[in-house]
């Protein structure tokens, strides 16, 4: 039995940096090609559904300009519905960003915590936690819009 130092401080086994290097070496690689393939397929399918919804709306008399909002509303509804019936959380492990990035993923990010914290009550649960995941997107989205708005004003004036 070689004498292992019981009295030295932390990291007696191996240099910290060396250990972290070894730890990275045994990490299984992320299946990037497979993930990209499924992200394309899942994300593409969601966008295809969105395209179909848009085409149907256009045929009912919406114009290219007015069709955007109702399409987004329907896609958000579908994302929320799939979350509520417990299907969206099965789609994302496969599709990754392909499922998270479209507007349906945003709906999932809002509805999931809303369901999750139901047990903690309507105010401190659902109400307080509903934007737990989507909050940063909203906060920085607003901030970015503000900055861009200021820039646009500075460059072109308010009315142009």
């Amino acid at each position: 039995m070689p004498s292992y130092s019981m009295h030295s401080g932390e990291c007696a086994l191996m240099d910290k940096k060396e250990y972290q290097k070894r730890a990275r070496q045994v990490e299984p690689p992320r299946p990037i090609a497979r993930n990209a393939f499924w992200a394309f397929l899942v994300g593409g399918t969601i966008c295809l559904v969105g395209q179909i919804v848009q085409a149907v709306l256009l045929s009912t008399g919406f114009t290219e300009e007015t069709v955007k909002a109702p399409t987004a509303i329907i896609m958000v509804f579908l994302g929320a519905l799939f979350t509520a019936v417990g299907l969206y959380d099965r789609l994302t492990p496969l599709g990754g960003m392909g499922a998270s990035l479209p507007i349906t993923g945003f709906a999932n990010a809002v509805v999931a915590p809303a369901i999750e914290f139901k047990n903690e009550g309507a105010v401190m649960g659902t109400g307080a936690r509903i934007f737990q995941i989507a909050g940063p997107v909203i906060a920085y989205g607003l901030f970015a819009a503000f900055v861009i708005g200021i820039l646009r004003y500075a460059l072109r004036g308010v009315w142009s």
Partner: protein
């Protein structure tokens, strides 16, 4: 506690002059755990993940209570025969153990050691019985995949892509009954089988280790040094060679932490080879989508109770070391950019005719 009863052999190594018996144990496992390789060996199976309860936290509590009740009924003891219960879980303020103890009625020592709670509570139960403080003590722990996800990670319905280094918190509970050997002789428990008697001969209290791993999705890498430190100190304290053990069961390093532990031990010229097994790898089959393997307070306790202890009882093994490992971070310390401190506690169990 007198020095003669529990001798401190070096720092943190406890040798029990009067080894307490590991008289009985009980495991309760969830559905996914039952579909794994150890599925047939659990004492009770729970297929409904909510157990008919309104919240997952309540379901976890029910798992815990059912393991404690089961160990009492398997051993033919009553709650009033047990002096102390050492128990903990993964939830904030260890609410599972604390709330469940309201109804159990045994004096409670709440324990938090994250996923090392199983061996930490077993170590404390053995220590209290060996020192004569308690005639009988129970060590118990539980974890629930859903309640752990809620607390440590994301809402359940939120779609998240898991990483290959992620581990899967096990749903289940286990309880272990530790008895004074003299007490057991005068009042023999209907043992689980009539094999050899199981004794807890020594234990090693872990030292907190931190090798700067910050990723909570890679707890195996964070915990491997804690397991290595405790195993080396246990070998040194007990005077055993690694070959004296039929099994060194770590929990839960998973497929990433396990090779790192082998590497750290090899640096010290210790080669446990196939003796060294990991509960996180054993609990689930590779096709169960758990990525690097299982984790959670129940994981090592389930594998120990369903696989390791029965093999000791059947006489297939003579000596084992349970080394449960725990990541001691919280979601908040992780968000603040802190690295993950980890710990491992070892309990040595031997089978004697």
């Amino acid at each position: 506690m007198s020095v003669t009863e529990v001798a401190l052999e070096g720092r943190g190594h406890l040798a029990f002059a009067n080894p307490p018996l590991l008289a009985a144990w009980a495991t309760v496992a969830g559905k996914k755990e039952t579909q794994g390789p150890l599925g047939r060996h659990f004492d009770r199976i729970v297929r409904d993940e909510t157990m008919g309860e309104k919240t997952f936290e309540r379901a976890e509590r029910k798992l815990f209570t059912s393991a404690v009740e089961l160990v009492l009924s398997l051993s033919g003891r009553h709650a009033s025969d047990v002096d102390l219960i050492f128990a903990g879980d993964l939830l904030d303020q260890i609410v599972t153990a604390n709330f469940a103890a309201r109804d159990i009625g045994i004096p409670l020592v709440g324990v938090y050691g994250a996923c090392s709670t199983s061996s930490e509570s077993l170590l404390l139960a053995a220590m209290s019985v060996a020192s004569g403080t308690a005639r009988r003590a129970i060590a118990a722990t539980a974890s629930h995949h859903m309640s752990a996800e809620r607390q440590y990670r994301y809402p359940i319905e939120l779609g998240v892509q898991r990483l290959p280094t992620s581990q899967w918190t096990a749903t289940g509970a286990a309880a272990f009954l530790v008895e004074d050997a003299r007490e057991a002789r005068s009042q023999k428990a209907p043992a689980q089988g009539d094999g050899p008697t199981l004794r807890i001969v020594s234990a090693t209290v872990g030292r907190v280790q931190d090798y700067g791993i910050k990723d909570p999705n890679n707890m195996g890498a964070a915990m491997a040094p804690a397991a290595a430190d405790t195993i080396l100190r246990h070998l040194q304290g007990s005077g055993h060679a690694v070959e004296d053990f039929d099994l060194i069961l770590t929990g839960d390093l998973g497929r990433v932490g396990h090779p790192l532990l082998e590497l750290l031990l090899a640096e010290e010229r210790i080669h446990p080879k196939e003796r060294l097994r990991d509960a996180g790898i054993l609990l689930y089959a590779p096709d169960q989508a758990v990525d690097a393997g299982g984790s959670g307070a129940a994981c090592s306790a389930l594998v120990c109770g369903a696989m390791a202890l029965p093999r000791l009882r059947r006489g297939e093994m003579r000596r084992m070391l349970l080394v449960a490992t725990g990541s001691l971070h919280s979601p908040r310390t992780y968000q603040q950019g802190e690295s993950i401190p980890t710990i491992a506690h070892a309990v040595e169990v031997e089978a004697v005719r």
